[in-house]
C-alpha cells in the first residue's frame, strides 16, 4: 500500500521500520524554535538538563515576537533571557528587534524551514510551515527543551484526513475563507491528533501566502498539523531562499487516509467566524451590519505581502470609518519594506490606519490594540476565544484581509463588494 506525504517524511527521520498509525516513534528534528513566551521555560529546563550545547546551532531559532518590542518590564526580562541564551550558546538564528518578524512568517521567508523537514516549534501555529510540504508541529516548552538537547522528538504517528478542494474561487475568496469554512464543517476538534492534508485543483491554484494561511489554522480544528504537497509554486517560492538542500515528498495515489472530504469552493462566500470559536464561521451575507470598534490586519495568519496588497486595493482612495481603529501589522521586516516600496504603507496611512512594526501584539491580547469591555473587533488573526484580544467581555470576529479592510471603511462587518466594484 502507498504512503502519505507525512508517512514518508516520518520514515525518512526515524530508524524504526514499518511503523503504523498510533505507534510511538523517535524522529530527528530539522529545525526547532521558540518565542519570548515559550523560550524562557525551555531555556531553564535546557540548562538544568546538563546539555553543554544545543543539538545544532544552525537549526535552532529564537524569535522575540509575542510581546516584543518589549511591552513592559516583565516582557523585557523574558526577551533578555532569549538574547543572552542566544549569545552564550551561539545560536545562529536569533532575530533581534529590527530584523525579527512573526515567527511563522519569518522562518519560511528566511528559507530556514523547508520541504521534507520535521519542524518543531514551541508555538501552536508552527503548522504554518506545512504549506511547504514539511511536517511541522507545535509543542510546549518542556518538549522544546528536550529537542534542543537531543535533536529528536517523540511522536505518535497520526492518521491523515485528506481534503480535496475543487472548483473555482469566487471573487474576494481567499485561503482564509477556505480554512474558516473547513473548520466550520468539522469543528474545533474535528481533526484532533490528526493531519489535515489539503489538496485538489483549487489548492494547486493558490499562492504560497494563501497556502500558509490555510496550514496556519489547521490547529484550530485540533490538528497535529496541516500539509500541502510541494509543486511548482512551492519551488518558485524557495528559489534564492532555501538555506540548505531539501527533499520533496508526495502522497502515493493509493495512500491510506482515515477520511477524504471533498469541498466545492465555487459555493463558498467570504467567511466570518463569530465569537467565541473559530468553528462559528458564517458566509459574509449573514454577518453584514455588525458594528465594529477595531479592525486588525496582520499576524502569522494574514500579515504577508499578498494580504497587505488586497487590503490596500480596498482601502485605496477610501477613509477608515471615524468610529473604527484600523491597525495594520506587516508580519516581517521584509514584508514591511516590500509594502513600503509598493506604496501600500502610503495607502494605509492616508486612509487613516495605524501601521505597526512586526509583532504578534493584539492577536493574543498582548498589546498594540487591546479591546475594552464591550468592544468588538474584526480581525485577520486566528482565534476568537473569550478575552483573546483583551477584556473578557470583548468580541473578536475572524475574517480575511479583504473583509477586515472593507469593514474598517464601513464601520460594520462588510463585504468587499460594498466598497469596491468587481
Amino acid at each position: 500500500m502507498g504512503k502519505t506525504i507525512v508517512e514518508k517524511i516520518l520514515s525518512s527521520h526515524t530508524d524504526t521500520d514499518n511503523f503504523k498509525i498510533g505507534d510511538i516513534i523517535k524522529a530527528r528534528v530539522d529545525f526547532a524554535f521558540a518565542n519570548d513566551i515559550t523560550a524562557p521555560i525551555a531555556i531553564k529546563y535546557f540548562k538544568e538538563s546538563g546539555a553543554g550545547q544545543v543539538f545544532d546551532k544552525k537549526r535552532v531559532g529564537l524569535i522575540p515576537d509575542h510581546f516584543a518590542p518589549n511591552k513592559d518590564i516583565k516582557s523585557a526580562e523574558q526577551c533578555k533571557l532569549l538574547r543572552e541564551f542566544a549569545r552564550e550558546y551561539k545560536i545562529e538564528n536569533y532575530f533581534e528587534i529590527g530584523k525579527m518578524g512573526v515567527e511563522h512568517a519569518l522562518l519560511p521567508e528566511k528559507g530556514l524551514v523547508l520541504p521534507g523537514d520535521i519542524v518543531v516549534g514551541a508555538d501552536s501555529h508552527t503548522d504554518t510551515s506545512g504549506a511547504l510540504g514539511a511536517f511541522a508541529i507545535g509543542v510546549g516548552s518542556t518538549d522544546l527543551a528536550a529537542i534542543m538537547a537531543l535533536g529528536e522528538v517523540w511522536l505518535k504517528v497520526p492518521p491523515t484526513i485528506k481534503f480535496v478542494y475543487s472548483g473555482k474561487l469566487n471573487k474576494w475568496v481567499s485561503g482564509k475563507d477556505l480554512i474558516l469554512y473547513t473548520i466550520s464543517k468539522i469543528g474545533v476538534d474535528g481533526a484532533n491528533y490528526k493531519v489535515m492534508e489539503f489538496s485538489g485543483e483549487a489548492i494547486k491554484g493558490l499562492s504560497m501566502d494563501n497556502r500558509f494561511t490555510m496550514c496556519n489554522m489547521a490547529i484550530e480544528a485540533g490538528a497535529k498539523t496541516g500539509i500541502i504537497e510541494p509543486d511548482k509554486i512551492t519551488l518558485e517560492y524557495l528559489k534564492g531562499r532555501a538555506k540548505r538542500p531539501y527533499q520533496i515528498y508526495k502522497s502515493d495515489p493509493d495512500a491510506h487516509y482515515e477520511k477524504i472530504i471533498e469541498i466545492d469552493v465555487s459555493k463558498i462566500e467570504p467567511q466570518v467566524a463569530f465569537p467565541h470559536l473559530p468553528e462559528n464561521a458564517k458566509p459574509i451575507s449573514k454577518a453584514k451590519g455588525i458594528k465594529i470598534d477595531q479592525s486588525i490586519i496582520g499576524s502569522c495568519t494574514n500579515g504577508r505581502i499578498e494580504d497587505l496588497r488586497i487590503a490596500a486595493e480596498i482601502l485605496k482612495g477610501q477613509q477608515v470609518h471615524p468610529e473604527v481603529r484600523l491597525i495594520v501589522i506587516p508580519a516581517t521586516q521584509d514584508i514591511y519594506l516590500q509594502a513600503l516600496r509598493e506604496g501600500l504603507i502610503d495607502i494605509f496611512i492616508s486612509s487613516g490606519a495605524a501601521v505597526s512594526t512586526p509583532t504578534c501584539g493584539p492577536c493574543l491580547g498582548g498589546y498594540m490594540g487591546i479591546l475594552a469591555k464591550g468592544e468588538r473587533a474584526i480581525s485577520t488573526t486566528n482565534r476568537n476565544f473569550v478575552g483573546r484580544m483583551g477584556h473578557p467581555e470583548s468580541e473578536v470576529y475572524l475574517a480575511s484581509p479583504a473583509v477586515a479592510a472593507a469593514s474598517a471603511i464601513v464601520g460594520r462587518i462588510a463585504s468587499p463588494e460594498e466598497v469596491k466594484q468587481g
Binding site: F67, K224, F385
Partner: protein
Amino acid sequence: MIIKGKVWKFKDNIDTDVIIPARYLNTSDPKELALHCMEDCNPEFVKKMNQGDIIVAGKNFGCGSSREHAPIAIKGAGVSCVIAKSFARIFFRNAINIGLPIFESEEAVDQCLPGDLLEVDTEKGIIKNLSKDKVCKTSPLPEFIQRIISVGGLREYVKKELKRRGENV
C-alpha cells in the same frame, strides 16, 4: 497514587486563553500564574477551590495555544488532576511533561456534578465518584508515556539520555 478531591466542572472546548489569559504570560512563575487560573471562565475558581480539587471538563480541553503556562497554572493552583472527555493534543503533551495527571473518560465526566467527591487511582486509571457511589475505568496511558513518567518526566528522561549518549561516545 490515590487522589481525592472535589469536582469543578467546565464545558467543552475550554481553551488555553481562558485557562491562563495571555495578559499574564509575561511571567512563567507557577505561583503567579496560579493566581489567574481559569479567571476568564470562572473568576471565583481560584478563590474558592481547595488544594487537591479536580477539574472535570467536556471535550477538547486545553485547545488553542501551546503555552505550557496552562497546565503549570492548573498544577500551581493546587488542582490534583484533570478529567475530560478529550484533550487537545499539545495540552496533553504539556500536562504529561510537567507531571499534571490527566485522564480521558466520557463516562466519568457525564456521571459527576459540581461538588462531587472523586477518588482517582492514577496508576490503575480508576475513577470513583464517592458522592454517587459509581466507578469507572479509563484506558491506561500509552506505554511510552508511562516510560517517561516512570523516569520522573521528560526532563529526567533527557538527563538520562544525555548521560547514555555521553557513555557511548
